[in-house]
């Protein structure tokens, strides 16, 4: 009985999916891969590209897409977020042309091709007025496991630590857990947040809070005067420079992914995202472009 209804649903899903895909192919397929020669001999691209996935990469991808579109007025690039997992799923199902995945691909994900775009680090942030200047890996681990509950045990003020953690499914959380060899089930958070900015806002208003956010977000906020500071990790400062030099340990890959060989249109965008011009944009977002 259960088996039956299950099959009906999945076959229904397949039909919907097939209709959707064929619809997308019908509407966009004929437009794709067209190039219009213009004066000067430079070919302009036209058509549509769908990019979905990680919310860390999405703002950068949207910016790159906007610049790329302005160079190719016939081209439409649609960037949507939904997390790294969605980026992968959409690529597998053929719903999007390029996926965004903010971590290294796992070995079992060999059906997908990764195009490394940049590196991003995760920095531990506390309030600017917090007298703590550095924490060891072990101390951070103990804080998140609830073994250290008061700043006093770390030679700080006698106040309870507000532990800020990320919601399930976020890639920042995955990278953090993986690096510190923690399990989310064991973490004792006081606050659970969604995106990086929420973490920055909370920490900047709470002298006794600790959180982890993307280095790019932290650096941008510190430069613009937000009352937070990023703690060094293993003696290495949490800055994009140290990230670029490969010294900062808590880092992750930002990848564009495609299924097998990208379409010429997708390839053109991927090539642009690795150009010198794009490097500047990537750096503006606080990420470190690949060499």
């Amino acid at each position: 009985m259960h088996q039956n209804s299950f099959t009906i649903i999945s076959s229904l899903n397949k039909t919907i999916l097939l209709t959707l895909i064929s619809f997308i192919l019908l509407t966009t397929g004929c437009e794709q891969q067209k190039t219009t020669p213009v004066a000067g001999g430079v070919a302009q691209l036209s058509g549509k590209l769908n990019i979905t996935g990680s919310s860390t990469i999405a703002p950068l991808a949207a910016e790159l897409a906007a610049i790329f579109e302005s160079k190719n007025p016939q081209l439409r690039i649609n960037v949507q977020t939904g997390g790294s997992s969605r980026g992968l799923a959409d690529i597998r199902q053929g719903v999007s042309d390029i996926g965004m995945v903010s971590r290294k691909l796992k070995t079992e994900e060999n059906d997908i091709q990764a195009h490394l775009l940049a590196n991003d680090g995760i920095s531990i942030i506390v309030h600017k007025d917090n007298p703590i200047t550095s924490l060891t890996e072990e101390q951070i681990k103990s804080i998140y496991l609830g073994k250290i509950k008061n700043w006093k045990s770390l030679n700080g003020v006698d106040k309870k630590i507000t532990v800020i953690n990320k919601a399930e499914g976020r890639s920042t959380l995955e990278v953090f857990l993986h690096f510190f060899k923690l399990k989310n089930v064991n973490i004792k958070p006081d606050v659970i947040i969604g995106d990086n900015e929420q973490g920055v806002k909370l920490v900047s208003r709470n002298r006794y809070a600790i959180a982890y956010v993307s280095i790019g977000t932290a650096e941008y906020n510190i430069k613009s005067g937000t009352t937070i500071k990023a703690l060094p990790l293993d003696g290495v400062e949490a800055t994009t420079e140290k990230l670029a030099s490969g010294e900062f340990p808590l880092s992750r890959e930002l990848n564009f992914v495609t299924k097998n060989k990208p379409s010429p249109l997708a390839q053109a965008f991927l090539d642009y995202s690795r150009s010198n011009e794009a490097r500047k944009t990537i750096e503006e977002f606080g990420f470190v472009p690949i060499k």
Partner: protein, 284 residues
């Protein structure tokens, strides 16, 4: 040939409209059930109330604290804002002079138009730090209740104003000619008549309060637990969906749709209870 009866046309149009409203509700319910079905089939439903915790990526699906969280925050906000709202409406209808009433009503109207995310933002930069100084971490049941009260208060004032202004003037005039005091008129003539209207307004706003998402997400802390005090963080069903939906796959995603379904059930129960206790207009 007879011209089509205008009443008939109107009737047909109205029937279609009513049909669309009912159908959209059925469609939402159908879709929620359909999306929640995989999780309901793969694990037995008592686990949503007995599992150790909510860690869907590790296979624990405890929903109970979020159901309690949603109801708690909603009740708290209504307890704070309903009396405040009704009293404000009474003030503006029967006590305040016109030069005061007009700006008051305009202000309330403007307040009711402010998107709730703004209240959430104000909450995170003012109320949360204030509470954190008093008792860490600041993001808590209390912060949620305060912010939510601000969000529903203007609407309660508006609806109460409306309910109070629709009292038949003749009753008020009769009471006045009997020489009753203003307090006695409000207490024994106006309020008993306005009760159903006030009550409906509060029920409607409860629905809004329990459905509020972003503002609550910003100030409540979102830790999945049954809070031990009003200073502890809590996660509501709506925050749960908003926090995790974008990143959820398979059973996790399905469990989030189940959160949505639970929310509908809770709202339905609230409405049913409200209907059962709905007061009738009576004059003492």
């Amino acid at each position: 040939m007879f011209p089509l009866n205008k009443d008939k046309i109107l009737l047909i149009v109205l029937r279609i409209m009513a049909g669309i409203s009912v159908l959209s509700l059925l469609f939402i319910l159908f879709y929620l059930v359909k999306e929640a079905l995989p999780i309901l089939q793969s694990i037995s439903s008592h686990r949503f109330f007995t599992d150790e915790s909510w860690h869907p990526t590790s296979g624990s699906y405890l929903l109970l604290p979020m159901i309690i969280g949603s109801i708690l925050i909603m009740l708290g906000a209504m307890i704070v804002s309903a009396p405040l709202g009704i009293l404000t409406a009474i003030l503006s209808q029967f006590y305040a002079p016109p030069w005061f009433t007009k700006p008051l009503n305009r202000t309330v109207e403007i307040l009711s138009g402010i998107p709730s995310v703004i209240y959430g933002f104000l909450g995170i930069v003012t109320i949360v730090p204030l509470l954190a100084e008093f008792q860490a971490p600041g993001t808590s049941v209390l912060a949620g209740v305060i912010v939510l009260s601000f969000i529903v208060l203007p609407n309660i004032v508006l609806i109460s104003n409306n309910a109070l202004s629709q009292i038949e003037q003749v009753h008020i005039h009769n009471a006045m000619s009997l020489g009753l005091s203003r307090y006695a008129i409000i207490r024994h003539v106006i309020l008993p008549q306005a009760k159903p209207g006030l009550f409906t307004g509060i029920v409607l706003q409860s629905g809004r309060a329990i459905g509020e998402t972003l503002a609550v997400l910003m100030v409540c802390g979102n830790v999945v637990q049954i809070p031990g005090s009003i200073f502890e963080p809590v996660r509501t069903l709506t925050s749960n969906i908003a926090l995790e939906m974008a990143y959820a796959m398979n059973d996790h995603r399905s469990a989030l749709f189940l959160s949505g379904l639970m929310l509908m059930v809770v709202v339905l129960v609230v409405i049913l209870i409200a209907e059962k206790f709905s007061p009738q207009a009576n004059i003492q």
